[in-house]
Symmetry: C2
Subunit: 303 residues, 2 copies
Amino acid sequence: MGTALDHDDWIAVDWGTSNLRIWVMRGTQIIARLSSDQGMGRITPHDYEAVLLDLVEPHLGAATTRVLVCGMAGSRQGWVEAPYTAVPCAPPSLATAVSVNTADPRLGVSILPGMKQGAPADVMRGEETQIAGYLAQKPHFEGAICLPGTHSKWAEIRHGAVTQFRTFMTGEVYALLSEASILRHSVGATCDLAAFDGAVEDMMRHPEMFSAELFGLRAGTLVADLGADAALGRLSGLMIGAELAGARTYWQGQNVALIGASRIGALYGRALAAQGVTADITSGEEIVVAGLSAAYHQTEAQK
Amino acid sequence: MGTALDHDDWIAVDWGTSNLRIWVMRGTQIIARLSSDQGMGRITPHDYEAVLLDLVEPHLGAATTRVLVCGMAGSRQGWVEAPYTAVPCAPPSLATAVSVNTADPRLGVSILPGMKQGAPADVMRGEETQIAGYLAQKPHFEGAICLPGTHSKWAEIRHGAVTQFRTFMTGEVYALLSEASILRHSVGATCDLAAFDGAVEDMMRHPEMFSAELFGLRAGTLVADLGADAALGRLSGLMIGAELAGARTYWQGQNVALIGASRIGALYGRALAAQGVTADITSGEEIVVAGLSAAYHQTEAQK
């Protein structure tokens, strides 16, 4: 049977707010991919085991299979709380994971902690595992790792540890503005790159004009022939430019790695390139699996 | 009959996106107040006359009564478009208003234009009438007028004219963040003023950290004992502080007049006071009536 589990088999899980992604692993190789929309936001703590079993049961043997989870499943509103580890520290491994009691003995579930910072107060859950994945591939990397998203993260990496990090609400504010604000009438479907570049530059020079430049998209539509694609390009540029202005101490004069989906990664890479920074861009999925695998095998090796 | 109209009687109307407010006037005196929630956002161009008549009919005589309207009713999606006048210029008067053809001959409706600016592109509709009202009371005022709101305006006033202005999306972004973003879980109902003051100062010094400071409210709730009232105070302070940082050229070293509802006006006044600026704070309702009255009588005087 092709799906019967081997002694080395285990299950890697990224359980976020909106999505659940599962990889059935043989050592460091992916042998099956599973996913659902049963993210933390849709389920209660009592649902997790059933949701997981529903997807992975065909892949379980008679013995216990180890399951390593990262992401919002470890938050207070998740499956079982996995308290944050405080920076500066290396990304968490299985040794610092929290065990979950499951009714089904075939599941041996552990949840990786997120990371926290005291001052300025900050938190991450899930991104620390992507950082672990990047560092597993580039163990000697020093510099900044940027993880664009709903809540974009910038992390400073020194000697394999996260020394500090900062979160920007870029993706969430972008979604609210483009879908729920008056700007929804102004923005089109295509991102005009010249308009994007101009807006990034405007924010690098005058970040204090962020909210005035936002209304300028509406006014530009009404009285200055600003097209819908240019408005979308400017909105994207204002959001990413404002983030880069705030994260300047992270990327200026540093090595920069970008971990994100291809479209958004390319826009961040373009904005950084305009500031003279060439970022190493990696897609997110392979990185989170590499991070879960690194966390899993690091502890296995320590046994 | 106490409500029968006199020769000097006319009707002042502020027709915004969300609300319709009407004042039946005898010269410059208010003799009746009427209002409804039938703002531009809820009605089509064909509805305006019926909505107006429904409220004012008991106050009409046999002859034509003049009705002067400001606000979004003059926008392209409104009753009849009243094109913007371009700054620099004085606030509009009845002479520049657009006449509306009504089916009912008892109504003689005119809509005041808004104001526009070419570069940076900007627009206002309704606020120019509040500015007219303030200048009617203080004709020699020179400096900046701030009108906090969904789309806050800062206008520079020289020799009775608006020379330039800028709009900040402060109120709309605040509403989206406090009601529809992850921050809705963090903010309470009371604005902690010490937290407000600190956040204003943070934005005056580091406006580029706006979106990181926003996420800091969520993180502060999770890992740094930030209370709900302090989170609301900081959110208000970040929004108003970011606006003041962007509007610095308007208020620094200038006379400043604030026109707004008492609660929000007090917060803006407090934030400006921390920067050494004592603002003259006036409530909005009396100002818009004064502006409509000034526009109405200025033209009457010119007849």
